[in-house]
Amino acid sequence: MLSKATAKQAEFQAESPALEAWRMFRRNIPALIGVVMLSVIILATLYGTFFYAGDPFDIVWAPQEPPGMTPEFPLGTDYLGRDIIAGLLTGGGPTLAVGSAAAAITMGIGITMGALAGYYGGWIDNLLMRITEFFQVLPALLFAMVLVTLFSPSLLTIAMAIGLVSWPQTARLTRAEFLKIKQLEYVTAARAIGARNRRIIWKVILPNALPPLIVSATLTVGVAILFEAGLSFLGLGDPNVMSWGRMIGANRDILDAWWPVTFPGLAIFFTVFSVSLIGDGLNDAFNPKLRER
């Protein structure tokens, strides 16, 4: 009886919120599928070229070779005769990089603005929220296009443009969380032991506001990847870099060849899908109401 009780207590110990969330996440099959899918995609874009060498810009075969016709080029070639597999493997890196960099910029600006607005309130809140609304009412894609054309397209400017148009959502979410959490007693308790505003914002409130923000960050990665694809499709991608969106954009006029646009499209689809699955899984894992299941 006693040993059972101690065993139970041992199980009870050292269960940090993060650990508990991970335990919940592990049980979530779709989220695990998402993790596996995303890992495969990342590994393929990182190491795929070791096994399948080839420059995606090289014209290596006849144009518009359908998939399965030539053993050297299993997925065929595009309208210029460039290898599609080489494009997929090298194009994934920039796509994912822009997606995550844009998400990081989004989170950085959004969390800072939202945290300061929500914590300080008053005129600071008013000012920051008016700025946020200003960015929110701009049509995102058009604004991003303007930014990219202004500052010559490169991976960095594209990531910054995407980040700059998509942070208002995060700012509003962060502000809402801060407004809620700053009322809680442990924030007053932190002030009562002499903590300063800066410490309370970043060390007391933010860690408690993180769960929904982490979820929103994963979803932002997906949106940013689509955004990059959209910009590349419109010809505003980095001209020196192959990306999935660029492959689709370059081949969009060739209506009788389905494969040059379908494969990069599928790659984008599976990436965004897996990121969304992970985001949903994190959402469930952090939601205490679903913990009991």
């Binding site: 009870f12 110990q13 050292a14 269960e15 940090s16 919120p17 809680l184 007693e185 442990y186 007053t188 308790a189 932190a190 002030r191 009562a192 032991i193 002499g194 903590a195 300063r196 060390k203 007391v204 860690p207 408690n208």
Partner: protein, 328 residues
């Protein structure tokens, strides 16, 4: 001799949608080293506002210290800079909150939170602070403290959490310890343990304790002196046994008679619990007269017109016309 902490004529107002209301009206209290001052009253009497004013934690706006002074060792806290207050909070003075369930940060271990409090005021590194935290947990009577230090708040019971809060509050040996209804959320048996702990800590550190409560039992166990508050004013102040045995103000009498007595049953029928009819009036509806007048059995015309002030009475200071005029 001047006291360690002196609140003098403190007036705190809040801007509400009813206009500016006075939450504290000429409140004067003092507490000495090693002494426990009990502050009692119903909800909404200004007890917690008094505590938060001392700590400088009144939200401003809407709150405002409209007058008076709070002196800690002669230093007026109402004039102190925010920087200075941050140094004092948790250092010279600390506070224990009502709800141990919600006053600990859920995402950090309790050890880390106590260590944090130590590092805010003392020049020690994290591992030293952690060791001090474990020692403090041991001091407040938490078994196997080095393991509990690695626990998260939700893994501890209410009583344990309140002990953690106390450990955090006394981590820098504060001169003034404010306990805002520290046992309201706890079981009766745990309450007694927490009071014992507070008494021990006071003996050891010589802190002054301001105990805010509406539990007269807590007062009789803990307090040396008592201030009874009503609608933002102190209406009676005396040694604890004086107030308990000879309450003067009708409100204080009411509070004391509301204490249910176990096993004391005169007639055959079950005694009804005593109560004070009515509620504390909303602050924005306070008139010119005594705030308690509407609920008072000894009400006279003068009570409706003129606010009573604390005056030296046979036993101790009281603010009541009826007592002053000898009608009660």
């Amino acid at each position: 001799m001047s006291s360690l902490l002196e609140i003098e004529d403190l007036r705190v107002t809040f801007n509400t949608r009813y206009g500016e209301v006075t939450a504290l009206d000429s409140v004067s209290l003092q507490v000495n080293e090693g002494e426990t001052l009990g502050v009692v009253g119903e909800s909404g009497c200004g007890k917690s506002i008094t505590a938060l004013s001392v700590m400088g934690l009144i939200p401003m706006p809407p709150g405002r210290v409209a007058g008076g002074a709070i002196r800690l060792n002669g230093e007026d806290l109402t004039q102190a800079s925010e920087r200075r207050m941050q140094a004092l909070r948790g250092g010279e003075m600390a506070m224990i909150f009502q709800e141990p369930m919600t006053s600990l940060n859920p995402v950090f271990t309790v050890g880390a939170q106590i260590a944090e409090a130590i590092m805010l005021h003392q020049n020690v590194d994290r591992s030293q602070a952690m060791r001090r935290a474990v020692a403090l947990l041991d001091r407040v009577g938490i078994p196997s403290p080095d393991q509990r230090a690695r626990d998260y708040p939700h893994q501890l019971s209410g009583g344990m959490r309140q002990r953690v809060m106390i450990a955090m509050a006394v981590s820098c040996r504060p001169k003034v310890l404010i306990a805002d209804e520290p046992t309201t959320a706890l079981d009766v048996t745990v309450q007694a343990q927490i009071f014992d702990l507070l008494n021990e800590i006071q003996r050891e550190y010589g802190s002054a304790i301001i105990l805010i409560t509406h539990d007269m039992g807590a007062i009789s166990e803990m307090a040396d002196r008592v201030a009874v508050m009503y609608a933002g004013r102190v209406i009676e102040e005396a040694r604890a046994d004086d107030v308990l045995d000879f309450p003067q103000h009708p409100y204080a009498r009411g509070l004391i008679s509301c204490i249910p007595a176990l096993g004391k049953r005169d007639g055959g029928a079950t005694d009804m619990l005593a109560e004070i009819p009515g509620v504390v009036p909303p602050l924005h509806l306070l008139g010119a007269g005594c705030a308690f007048a509407d609920r008072c059995a000894a009400r006279a015309p003068r009570c409706e017109l003129e606010k009573p002030h604390l005056f030296a009475h046979g036993h101790h200071p009281v603010a009541c016309h009826a007592v002053e005029e000898g009608r009660l």
